[in-house]
Structure formats: structure tokens, C-alpha cells
């Protein structure tokens, strides 16, 4: 839905800030210093927000150093991996071994009767669903606790960009996890190399049907989405290009015995193809290379990265400058994202709170702000109600951003999630909550400073202080510990209900 107070063009729920862009200075490094507002802004955009001490730490840094610490992130290989993901291939081997030992469902070499097939199917589906739930919680926890938030932020970006969905079409939980790791591995790597590798990723091969494509019957689904949604956008290729790209990608399939990607030469179309004006016996990798030779590919990713990190529906001249940088750096992400996060436009009023928080940003950011160490069922269920179920994007186009995140039902889900979370016992033990002063005016100031970096009006400070002091009841300072705690939790909820908290 378009905002009525803006004059900008509304592109499917994406609204550009008002005012004029100073293009000459936009991408130059920001020469100012950081404060709590700009530090929190950087942490929200390059990650999932910050706990108060994170914000204070970054606010004391030079902008270039702060960005450098996010981009050159420490190794995360020591972080815990998800445990006990259901592996249908291992499960099958286990059943076979049990049968050989005269045990289990197939003891005595019993055949796969309809009843057994049913039982088996039910077990498998249930195990897969449980695995995906565990994987969702694992990822949210990782977003919350990682020392490399930008890595997770990019993994989330790629999950919405190069989408595949769990469970359908034979995509197993292991494959979902492997794809997620691929996104992490390439978080600030090379876009061309990632595009080559995601094309051969088992979950992607199954989700977009390339696994079933062969020379005799090329399936065009992957070839089309590769160009339409992943690299070029509509109107930048022809139907012939789709057919020819599909031929080039034949041969890549998934070995059902191992669950691994495999190139089967006999399935590959070895003939000559004509693609985007070039002719040759192209492979899938060649197709990706030709796509990345198109200036439109850089324009496409520049638009997408600006929408994700800076503001929505960016001006064509800003897109062009970022696209030029992508080409100059041969599609390496790190220098381009680093440039964006250091730029004048990033720290300008145009970009400040210019995006709507996605549910992942909202949920993880709230756990962070409240000092909670782990995402629990409240957060997991809230993600669903807010419309972002990790590993189940709504379709191959990913989650629609911007105003699409904000309907009355989704907003109610956000507010009720916060209301539930402020009542977690651990919130009371958080250092900054425990340190809130007894003076209502000071406490309201601290709450708004910590949770919103002061982004509330004078009237709201007064409202909050008056709530803390209890109209016609005891003032905050006169309350027992228990009642004081309850009122502070209520005030934290009210602070996070304010409009600024929905914005990133």
C-alpha cells in the first residue's frame, strides 16, 4: 500500500524517501562521526540490531572502522551446527539394515504394502517437518548470537533472492541446510560464483525442476527464473533465450541415492546454442557467465542491494553508480556492501528508518534489545503470524518487501509478540532493565533512548512517564519490586509499540 504523504513512485509496495538525492556526494565516504542513533542504524541494517552495549561500542568507533568490523567478520566455523536433521537416505539405509537383521518395519523381507507405505510416508513427513522447525529455530538463534551478523543478513538476503522451499518436490532438510550454508559461505563473496553454485545446488535443482530436465525434454523452469528473478528481470531476455539456457543446463540432476548434485553427460544437450546474442556449445556455467556480462545484471543486483541496505525504490542514477561499482569489482559483494554502509546516503535522513522491519529483523532485534539469549517458541510462532516462515518463502519470487510487511493482522501479531516477550522472566534480569531509575521521567527517557534511540515525540515521553507513574495509583518509585517490575515491562511494551520500532 502506498503512503499517501509521499510523491514518489510506488513500485509494488516499495516507497522511496521524499526529498532530493545529492548524487555527487551520495556514495562518498561519510566524514561525520557516529552516535547512538547512527550506530543503531548501522547495526539494524548490517545485522539484526544491537543490544545497548553493542550500540554503545559501535557509537564510539570511526564509521570506516565500524563497517570494517562488520564486513571483515571473524570466522564462524565454531558456531554450533543444527543437530539431528532428518536424512531420508540414511533412514532408508537404516531400514534396509534393520530388515537384514530381521528387525524393524521390514523384518522378514516384507514387501512395501500400501499400509506400510502409508506408515512410512507419515513418519517421513513428520520427521521432515520437525527438522525444519528445528532448523528455523537454529537459524533465528544464530542471527541473534553470531559475532558476524552481516553474514546472516546476507544469508537471509540470498534466501529471499535465490529461493527454494523445504519439503516439497523432494527437498530434504539436509538439502535445505546445505543451501543455507552455501549462502553463508558466499555471504560477501562473488555473485557470479554463487549463481553458478546455486544452479547446481540440490534443493534448487529439485525446487525449480532442473533435476528432471534432459536433452530430450528440457525443462525451462530454472532457466526462466534464473533470468527473470535471479539476475536480469523481465524484459531483458527472449523466450528463445529461455529455451536455449534450458538446453545448456540439461545434465545437472540430483542423485537420489546420495542426495548430491550430479552432472550426467548423457542427459546433457551437446548441441550448439544461441543465447543473448552469442552462439556456441554452451554449458550451464557459460550461461551464467554470459548473463553476468550483461550490464543489466549489475543494474539488477544494484537495485536489489540498495533496496535491502539503503532505501526502497532507489533513484536510477544511484542504481547506475552502484552497478558500475559491482562491475568494477567483478561482482565481488564485500567492496560494494562496504561502500554502501560507509556512504553519505546511508547516514543521511533519506535512509534513516526508511525501511519497514522484516519479521526476522523485528523478532531477532527484539530478543537482542531485551537481552534474551535464545529464541523460543514465542518467536518461532510469531514469525509465522507475521508472514515470514523461514525455508518456506511464499513463492520463487521470495517475500514481498516494504509496505507488504504491514497489514493490520501482521501488526497485531508484532505487538502481541512484544507483549508476550516482555513478560519473559529473563527480561527482568537484563542489566539495562534492572538499572532503570525509580524516577518515571528518567525511566521513560532511558526506555526510549535504549529501544528507539530517542525517536519519540515529547508527548510520548510524557505519556510513558505518566503510565510509569500510574494515573491515580502509586508512583513508580513507591512500588514494591514486583509491581515496579510489572510496570516497567508494560512500559517497554509501549515503547516498542511506537511507530519508530516498526521501522528499520
Amino acid at each position: 500500500m502506498a503512503s499517501s504523504q509521499t510523491t514518489s513512485v510506488d513500485v509494488g509496495g516499495l516507497v522511496r524517501p521524499t526529498g532530493r538525492l545529492d548524487m555527487a556526494q551520495a556514495l562518498e565516504p561519510y566524514a561525520g562521526t557516529l552516535d547512538e542513533r547512527s550506530a543503531a542504524h548501522l547495526l539494524r541494517r548490517a545485522g539484526f540490531g544491537g543490544a545497548p552495549n553493542d550500540i554503545a561500542r559501535v557509537a564510539a568507533m570511526q564509521p570506516a572502522d565500524a563497517v570494517e568490523s562488520l564486513v571483515r567478520f571473524p570466522s564462524t566455523s565454531g558456531l554450533p551446527a543444527p543437530t539431528d536433521l532428518f536424512d531420508p537416505i540414511a533412514y532408508r539405509q537404516q531400514l534396509v539394515q534393520q530388515a537384514r537383521a530381521g528387525q524393524g518395519m521390514f523384518a522378514g523381507g516384507a514387501r512395501l504394502t500400501p499400509d506400510k507405505r502409508r506408515e512410512l510416508g507419515k513418519d517421513v513427513r513428520q520427521a521432515e517437518r520437525q527438522s525444519i522447525l528445528a532448523l528455523q529455530r537454529w537459524w533465528l538463534d544464530r542471527m541473534l548470537a553470531t559475532p558476524a551478523p552481516l553474514q546472516e543478513k546476507m544469508a537471509l538476503y540470498f534466501h529471499g533472492h535465490f529461493t527454494s522451499a523445504a519439503i516439497q518436490k523432494g527437498v530434504s532438510p539436509e538439502m535445505v541446510f546445505d543451501q543455507n550454508q552455501l549462502f553463508r559461505q558466499y555471504a560477501l563473496g562473488n555473485l557470479r560464483s554463487l549463481t553458478r553454485d546455486i544452479s547446481k545446488d540440490p534443493a534448487m535443482l529439485l525446487y525449480l525442476d532442473n533435476a528432471g530436465s534432459d536433452a530430450a525434454h528440457p525443462n525451462e523452469n530454472y532457466a526462466r527464473e534464473l533470468m527473470e528473478l535471479f539476475t536480469l528481470g523481465v524484459d531483458h531476455y527472449s523466450e528463445t533465450d529461455v529455451r536455449e539456457a534450458a538446453r545448456a543446463w540439461t545434465g545437472w540432476t540430483v542423485d537420489r541415492r546420495t542426495g548430491q548434485a550430479a552432472f550426467v553427460a548423457s542427459r546433457h544437450d551437446n548441441g550448439s546454442k544461441t543465447f543473448l546474442g552469442r552462439t556456441g556449445n554452451f554449458t550451464g556455467d557459460d550461461i551464467v557467465d554470459i548473463i553476468f556480462d550483461q550490464p543489466q545484471c549489475a543494474t539488477f543486483f544494484a537495485t536489489s542491494l540498495l533496496n535491502y541496505f539503503v532505501y526502497n525504490n532507489p533513484e536510477p542514477e544511484l542504481v547506475a553508480a552502484v552497478a558500475a561499482s559491482l562491475r568494477k569489482h567483478d561482482y565481488e559483494i564485500a567492496p560494494v556492501v562496504s561502500m554502501l554502509l560507509r556512504s553519505n546516503v546511508f547516514y543521511s535522513d533519506r535512509a534513516y528508518r526508511a525501511l519497514i522491519k522484516s519479521p526476522a529483523e523485528f523478532v531477532v532485534g527484539t530478543y537482542k534489545s531485551l537481552g534474551l539469549a535464545q529464541v523460543d517458541g514465542i518467536g518461532l510462532r510469531a514469525m509465522r503470524a507475521m508472514g515470514q516462515i523461514l525455508f518456506y518463502p511464499p513463492n520463487v519470487a521470495g517475500w514481498p518487501p516494504g509496505a507488504n510487511w504491514m497489514t493490520s493482522q501482521m501488526l497485531i501479531s508484532r505487538q502481541n509478540f512484544v507483549a508476550a516477550l516482555v513478560n519473559e522472566p529473563a527480561v527482568g534480569e537484563t542489566a539495562w532493565v534492572a538499572a532503570l531509575p525509580d524516577d518515571a521521567a528518567k525511566a521513560s527517557h532511558d526506555l526510549v533512548a535504549t529501544l528507539l534511540q530517542g525517536d519519540a515525540s515529547k508527548q510520548s515521553f510524557v505519556q510513558l512517564a505518566s503510565y510509569l507513574d500510574g494515573t491515580n495509583t502509586s508512583a513508580l518509585g513507591a512500588l514494591s519490586t514486583e509491581n515496579r517490575d510489572e510496570r516497567l515491562r508494560g512500559a517497554a511494551y509501549l515503547t516498542m509499540a511506537m511507530p519508530a520500532y516498526q521501522l528499520n
Binding site: 504523504q5 519497514i356 507483549a419 519519540a456 515525540s457
Partner: protein, 406 residues
């Protein structure tokens, strides 16, 4: 209607009463719908039979030997079928709907589908909801109707989804459709004694903020909708008395709420409801017959209730399902994802009977029945002849309408 004290109450009673009157005035001013004769205040109820309803065991081709040959264990025995004629008839669980059919208030459109069908639940559901088989749209066909209809912006209930999450079909560029799982399930929680309520109402309407954002006005509009909507709905619908006994099923409860919304005259033009799951890969008969029976009985209660309030002529129900199922049963006494299937139009304005062509079972391709009516023809019919809006822009194409409405 009781509201639990966990819900945020009114900002102030005066504010709510005033805005409720305002909504009433707006809703009345907006009726009749543009393009319709005076006095016709119409609502569409869209029921999603989700999971893929098997059309062959729903409207059974009991006159076709091939049906019984390919469905030796799950075919509905000829003697049980509630026959419409010598060829087709209702599933025996659908007695209530068959009675309504006999009275002329049910239309069956046979063989509905779309070209190059997708067999994925997710994608095919999206296709039915966006009415776009060949591209990805983020708005639904009823969302685009709401964009087009010029309904009063002050009314928060121009469209209502009776569901946990807003379905794609109701996603609009300009109209915020509330998703209301139940009357009690739509609301903001408060602190224990409700002390935060009035403060909430103030801080979410904060205007002098020390920053600008292109989304600020949108966020504040939605904050306002969420709070006012959840407070006003029970007040606006409080005077309604249900006049039928609904089955004690989720669908029964959803339809009871729909009848209440209609009967409260709050200007609601489109309501979404879901029922299922019809994904009957295994032991189909027990599951599907139960679901069809629930649907059929709930529809009877719904129209009895509407009728008792004089609203039966102004509410049209349309069903859809993401696909039908294969002609041949599988090894688990179930059926797999197929293609074309029938859908129902029930109630107001319906010219009862069967429409379109039952797909030739002999023409099935790999067990998939080819469609004989494009689903967008059904949508065009509802848009043009019930909701009174031109369909070409909403459906991005011109589709022939069916003579199924009076």
C-alpha cells in the same frame, strides 16, 4: 458477545462511538455498489477447499463405467450417489447441499481449471488466488477488486479474511484487509489490568516524531486500523443474533462469523474462509466424505441463518480448490494431485443447475482431467455480474462470463 479483558479497550468511549457512526454513514453512502441497481447490497463469500478437492468423488460421474474401472476401491457406489441425472450426482455426504441444489440455489460449474496446470499445492493455490497462471503477482484478484471498487476508505471492513494470516487473494495495494481468525482472536493484548490501553492509543498516534520515513504514514495508518478494528468489530456486530445451529466445526464457526458480519451491515463486500485439508493421498473416502459433509451442512446452516435475517439473497458463496485429483486411484486408496475439478456457486443470485462440460474421462492425460472452463471466466462472472465491476483490468484479460447468475 463478551470480550476478554486481555483485549485493549477503547481509547475513549466517545471516540469509538463517533467513529463507528462515521463508518456506518460511509458504508450506507457507498451502497448500492457502483454499477448495480439501487437497493442491492451484495457480499461475496469465497471458500477455499484447500488441499485439492477430488472433483470426481464430489460430483460423481456415476454413469461412466470408466470411473468405476479406475476407482475400484474408492469409487462412490452408484446406489449411494445423490443423482442429479443419469450421468452425475452428489457425494452421499452432501445431502444438505443436494437439497439446496434441488431448490435451485446451487450452481455447479464443471471442469474448471487453467492452461498448463501446476501440480504444486503452493504454486497452484497462488495461481487461483492471484488469477495469474503465468506470472508472480503480490496482489490477489479480490485485492485488486478492492483497489478498483472505490469503497469508503474509512471503513475498516470492506474485506475480511476469516483466517490466521491474510491469504494472497485478499492482498490489495490500497485496502488493508483484516485477517480475523475468530471474533475473540482479533485483538491486541494488554498488560494484566489493562492500564497500558489508553497510553497505547496515544503513543501509536504520535505525530511530532524527530525523524521522517517514507513508511511512517503507512505504519501509523495500520496501527490505527489494528486498534480501532479490533475494538470496533465486536461493538459493530454486537446486535446480531444467530438464527441457526451451525455444525461445531471450524468451518461452522467461520461461517457463523461471516453471517454475523453480513447481518451487521458494516459494508463488507468480500469475505474469505477456508476449509480442509482435502489432500487425500491416503484413505480418501473417510476424509473427503467428512469434509464434504461438513461443508454441506455448514452451508445449509449459513443460508438458514442468512435467510432468517433476510440476507440470503445478498450473499453469494463461491468455492475453489487449487486442483482436482487424478482419475485413477493410487495404491493407498487415495488420489494424487490432478487438474480440473468442479466448483460451486451458492445462494444469492444463483441460477441453480450445472454449467460447463464434465471433462471426458477418456480424454484424461496421464490421469489428469483437462479443464473445460477457465477459472477466470468464473471470476469474471462474479466480478461483473455480482460485484458490479469490470473484470478486464482486475484479471489482466477478457474472459467470457457464464450465465450462472440471475
Amino acid at each position: 458477545m463478551k470480550r476478554g479483558n486481555f483485549l485493549l479497550g477503547a481509547v475513549s468511549g466517545i471516540t469509538v462511538v463517533a467513529s463507528a457512526d462515521h463508518i456506518f454513514a460511509q458504508a450506507l453512502a457507498a451502497s448500492p455498489l457502483p454499477g448495480l441497481p439501487a437497493g442491492q447490497n451484495r457480499t461475496l463469500v469465497l471458500v477455499n477447499l484447500q488441499g485439492g478437492n477430488d472433483g470426481l468423488n464430489c460430483i460423481v460421474p456415476h454413469g461412466d463405467a470408466q470411473y468405476y474401472r479406475l476407482r475400484p476401491t474408492i469409487g462412490i457406489a452408484q446406489a449411494q450417489v445423490l443423482a442429479i441425472d443419469g450421468q452425475i450426482g452428489f457425494n452421499p455426504a452432501m445431502k444438505s447441499l443436494k437439497d439446496m441444489y434441488d431448490k435451485g440455489s446451487v450452481a455447479i460449474v464443471q471442469g474448471v481449471g487453467y492452461p498448463q496446470p501446476d501440480h504444486s499445492h503452493f504454486r497452484s493455490t497462488e495461481i487461483w488466488q492471484t488469477a495469474a497462471p503465468d506470472k508472480y503477482l503480490h496482489t490477489g484478484w479480490l485485492g485488486r477488486y478492492l483497489d478498483d471498487a472505490g469503497l469508503p476508505k474509512a471503513n475498516l471492513f470492506n474485506g475480511v479474511a476469516v483466517s490466521q494470516v491474510l491469504p494472497e487473494v485478499m492482498i490489495s495495494e490500497t485496502v488493508d484487509v483484516p485477517a480475523i481468525p475468530s471474533e475473540r482472536g482479533y485483538g491486541l493484548v494488554s498488560d494484566r489490568n489493562g492500564a497500558s490501553r489508553s497510553t497505547y492509543g496515544q503513543v501509536v498516534r504520535d505525530t511530532n516524531l524527530p525523524f521522517a520515513s517514507p513508511y511512517l504514514s503507512h505504519v501509523m495508518e495500520i496501527e490505527d486500523h489494528a486498534q480501532r478494528g479490533s475494538e470496533e468489530l465486536p461493538k459493530l456486530t454486537a446486535g446480531y443474533k444467530t438464527q441457526a445451529t451451525y455444525p461445531a466445526t471450524p468451518l461452522g464457526r467461520s461461517l457463523a462469523l461471516a453471517a454475523q458480519i453480513v447481518g451487521s451491515n458494516i459494508g463488507t463486500k468480500v469475505i474469505y474462509i477456508q476449509h480442509g485439508s482435502f489432500d487425500t493421498h491416503v484413505s480418501q473416502q473417510a476424509t473427503q466424505n467428512r469434509l464434504l459433509g461438513e461443508f454441506s451442512d455448514a452451508m445449509k446452516a449459513f443460508y438458514d441463518d442468512l435467510g432468517a435475517h433476510g440476507n440470503d439473497g445478498s450473499v453469494l458463496t463461491l468455492t475453489f480448490s487449487e486442483f482436482g485429483r487424478r482419475l485413477e486411484e493410487n495404491a493407498n486408496r487415495g488420489t494424487d494431485h490432478g487438474e480440473a475439478s468442479p466448483l460451486f456457486l451458492i445462494g444469492g443470485g444463483v441460477k441453480g443447475g450445472t454449467y460447463g462440460t464434465y471433462p471426458q474421462l477418456g480424454s484424461a492425460n496421464m490421469g489428469n482431467l483437462p479443464f473445460t472452463t477457465d477459472f477466470r471466466s468464473v471470476y469474471a462472472t462474479v466480478l461483473e455480474r455480482w460485484l458490479g465491476r469490470p473484470s478486464t483490468k482486475i484479471l489482466a484479460g477478457t474472459y467470457p462470463t457464464l450465465p450462472v447468475l440471475t
